[in-house]
């Protein structure tokens, strides 16, 4: 880790002022400190946000929507009754993030703004890792964990934040605060796809930090399903979150978002279309999963993700309907 200067912020205002170019905001530290140790990120200044009291807490209810401040620890999200009852997609996903220690440390903001886990990136080769003779390392190398969508492009890693997936499914909005004041965007608008190593994967403006995330009122049903290798500490291989509103028995509106298949949280419009106006059954859910897989272009080692994608969408949809058919 390179030496840096340290600012312990106690207010949002102070934090924003301290976040000059070359600075990095530090919350739980579970991602940034590791990147700094690996010299992947070497800020000149670190601005510590975890002691900013106005950045932590959860307010609201299922009927009017819930706001989670960016500094809220994942353990506090898990302890929230309203999240557990009204937003099971988010609660379930949060419960599967990392480890008890990390959930005690990591903040919502840190989770949403963590950097990709791509092993080429973590080895110092950047998000678009290429050799000096122009070979794309992830395309030519070990891409078992890489993307299966948007693979015509150069960003082949997968988006690392599993919490972004249910939040986008739930239609959550993010409020950012920066030198130019506050603004609110859809959570999915926080991310972009870089085309070179000098570009950011985040659509934030310089000096902006996340202030809060607001989830709209819970109306229909939502659920997540994660396929992972280890039961203890692990990342999802592929995970889906769904949020459905109903007209009677049939789905009137659906949002289906997938982790682990693209450099951004992958919203599957095809799956959403396929389940619309349908009653949720194993068959209709499977058709939605099939629809989602159209257009997937896996790399040399990650074809398995296509079938996994179908499965997690099917299971997330069925979970929302209370049908865990695979456990039968």
């Amino acid at each position: 880790m390179k030496a840096f200067e340290y600012v312990g912020a106690t207010s949002v205002d102070q934090a924003v002022k301290a976040l000059t170019p070359g600075s990095a905001p530090l919350a739980g530290g579970t991602d940034l400190i590791n990147r700094m140790k690996d010299y992947v990120t070497s800020p000149e200044r670190v601005v510590y946000l975890n002691d900013v009291k106005e950045l932590a807490g959860i307010s609201g209810d299922a009927a009017s929507g819930v706001t989670i401040l960016a500094g809220t620890r994942l353990a506090e999200i898990l302890a929230s009754e309203v999240v557990k009852s009204a937003y099971p997609a988010l609660w379930q996903t949060t419960s599967e993030v990392a480890t008890p220690q990390i959930r005690n440390m990591a903040s919502l903001g840190g989770n949403l703004f963590q950097h990709p886990r791509c092993w080429y990136y973590r080895s110092g080769f950047g998000l678009v890792p290429k050799t000096t003779d122009g070979k794309h390392m992830l395309r030519e190398g070990d891409n078992r964990y890489a993307a299966i969508f948007m693979t015509d492009g150069d960003a082949l890693y997968v988006h690392p934040s599993s919490l972004a997936v249910p939040l986008i499914a739930l239609g959550a909005k993010a409020t950012l605060v920066g030198p130019e004041g506050e603004r609110t965007v859809e959570v999915e608008e926080l991310y972009k796809v870089p085309t070179s190593n000098s570009e950011s994967p985040f659509a934030t403006k310089p000096g902006e930090i996340l202030k809060s995330v607001t989830i709209p009122a819970s109306k229909g049903k939502n659920a997540s399903y994660e396929a992972r290798h280890k039961q203890a500490h692990d990342w999802p291989l592929v995970m889906a979150s769904v949020n459905l509103t109903f007209s009677g028995e049939t789905v009137s509106d659906a949002r289906v978002v997938v982790y682990g298949v693209a450099p951004v949280p992958w919203r599957s419009k095809a799956a959403e279309e396929a389940i619309k106006d349908k009653v949720i059954t194993v068959e209709s859910a499977r058709s939605a999963g099939e629809a989602a897989a159209a257009g997937a272009k896996p790399l040399s080692m990650n074809g398995f993700k296509v079938s996994m994608l179908k499965t997690v969408i099917t299971r997330a949809l069925c979970t929302s309907a209370g049908n865990k058919y695979w456990e039968a």
Partner: protein, 208 residues
């Protein structure tokens, strides 16, 4: 020793800004490297009074009920300061990347990885390591000992600490809750059977 509070208006900031395009090109992508702001705007921001610390800094940490004074750098992790400067060597450095749990300490009541916690951020907080735990028959270490929940013992401090933190929050854990509560720790000798039993026994012993 350098003064630990630097003036951010000093020349170094301007120098850094000039060099920032180089940093962006070489240092891979970082959140910090999104240098979109023009120099004038950045300069304006930099003139705001912010207290920044760098170099060698004198700190006092509250470890196991004692105020321990030492010198650190802002980048020093809590784990390295405990082990290399304060000789509090219960917490172990194993993965050093927040994955294995051997460095677990209880910070303001929460089990955290001290390898991804900065010492400078830990000032004013209560730091507990397993050296402070009850070693008697009602304590967690005793249960690990009796159940042979350890072999080489290098992961053990982390497991004992995670277990202590778990039981402080949930004195009546089920088997599943014990497993989940210890999922932030890795043992290579394979002592999980004894560890899990130790956690269940400790829960009983603490209640008595």
């Amino acid at each position: 020793m350098r003064d630990n509070v630097t003036d951010p208006n000093a020349a170094s900031r301007r120098d850094f800004l000039r060099g920032s395009s180089v940093a962006a090109a070489t240092a891979v992508l970082t959140q910090t490297a999104q240098v979109g702001m023009d120099e004038a705007a950045a300069e304006a921001l930099a003139t705001q009074q912010i207290s920044a610390q760098s170099g060698t800094i004198s700190v006092t940490l509250q470890v196991n009920g004692k105020a321990l004074k030492t010198e650190i750098e802002p980048r020093s992790t809590l784990l390295d300061v405990l082990r290399h400067r304060l000789d509090v060597t219960g917490p172990k450095r194993v993965c050093d990347r927040g994955s294995c749990g051997a460095c677990t300490v209880i910070l303001d009541g929460q089990a955290v990885y001290s390898c991804t916690t900065l010492a400078i951020s830990s000032q004013g907080k209560t730091i507990r390591t397993l050296e402070s735990f009850d070693t008697g028959e009602g304590g967690v270490p005793h249960a690990f000992h009796q159940n042979d929940g350890l072999m080489c013992g290098y992961c053990t401090p982390g497991f004992v600490t995670a277990c202590q933190a778990l039981l402080e929050k949930n004195p009546n854990p089920t088997l599943e809750e014990v497993k989940k509560g210890l999922d932030g720790n890795i043992c290579r000798c394979g002592t999980y059977v004894g560890v899990i039993q130790a956690a269940l026994d400790a829960a009983k012993a603490i209640k008595v």
